[in-house]
């Protein structure tokens, strides 16, 4: 099962196994990983599952859509490598993915 690493803003790392097909957000919520709120439950309506993805992984994950970009405008301190973790689907190719959570989600 692919391993996903969640890094908190103060550099605490948690690595969990996430089944293929789940989102990176679901992987966090189901394993009680702190730093991802996901208030809307994955409908891309709240920007509280915001994560930063390192440059080398950004190109490997599914491309960002306009609607996600719009939603990221509402996120807390968005950067160029910001994504909504509910929009990243876990696959074998993403085994080892590291995402960093912001200081807070809202």
């Amino acid at each position: 099962m692919p391993k996903i690493t969640y890094i908190s803003h103060n550099n605490k790392k948690v690595t969990v196994e996430v089944p293929i097909g789940l989102s990176v957000m679901e992987g966090a919520v189901q394993n009680n990983v702190e730093g991802i709120d996901a208030d809307c439950g994955g409908s891309m309506a709240c920007a509280t599952c915001h994560v930063y993805v390192s440059e080398n992984w950004l190109t490997k994950i599914e491309k960002i859509h306009d609607a996600e970009r719009d939603m990221l405008d509402m996120a807390y301190e968005p950067k160029n490598n910001s994504r909504l973790s509910c929009q990243i689907t876990v696959s074998n190719e993403l085994d080892g993915l590291e995402v960093t959570t912001p200081i807070k989600q809202s």
Partner: protein, 337 residues
Amino acid sequence: MIKTDAIIIGAGPVGLFAVHQLGIKGLKSIVIDNLDKAGGQCIELYPDKPIYDIPAVPECTGEELTKNLLEQIKPFNTEFFYNERVDEVMQDKDNWIVKTNNNNEFTAPNIIIAGGVGSFEPRKLSLKEAEKFEGKSIFYAVKNKEAFKNKNISIFGGGDSALDWTLELSKFSKINLIHRRDEFRGAPHTLAEIKKLEKDGKISIKTPCQLESIEGDKDIASITIKFDDGKTEKIKTDTILSFFGLIMKLGPIAEWGLNMNKKTIEVNSENFETNKKGIFAAGDICHYPGKLKLILSGFHEVALASVECFKRARPEEKYRFEFTTSSKTIQDRLGKK
């Protein structure tokens, strides 16, 4: 104090349908919502986005759904209390007393919490110094546009609110529109107007950049923005308007002594009552095994909850299950002849 049969917290689709389900059983209700209108997430998050899973409605927008639900509950002449948040819930024998932040008090044997993911509040600027200017020179909404005349206003955001207020306030103030990326999201004619204003030198647009610091002691003197390439620019500003959407906060609900599961309220799936008799939760805010956060699930939940509400509000009467198609009583309540 206003007496009623059920106090509904939340005017989203589930809260609105609760009015209907209570109403056809002859129960009166009132609705309280922190927003200024009905619709909840449907209106705040996706008014124009289509919904495809309302039974027998192949496609409708959040706005249409809300409009139709309001139409459906019209016969019940329900009173709505908008811009109010429920702060306190107290027990009074078999009844509940609810107090809002607007000092309204209600009492009823039943409370239905249909609060979605909590109350909506504007997302605030993340800079620490923004706090001390809030309400004086930093605003997250325009209540009275007269207060924004003849100012140097910096507007943050890239969506409809930021664009619409840029257009409106540029009639009598100097506007800087600041956004973290180059694209704005708005109606085509709005975008065209914005472009024209910029071309005519009426407004200035700064992208892609974010707020770096706010200068000033009592009042704001200027702000510094940082562009993506690292360059910074100081902009003369006395007023900041920030439109980064709304966030959802569970708020005081967490303190009412209800059994919680993370940010949701535990209910049974027979009548959606919480651990407190007479307090029900339905829609996205409730949790039970197998719960799905769908509008249609919320409709089912309030239908069942309303039966228990009836038993509590009319203990001396026997509950009779009736169909709207055949019940003369229900048709009278709906004003149908």
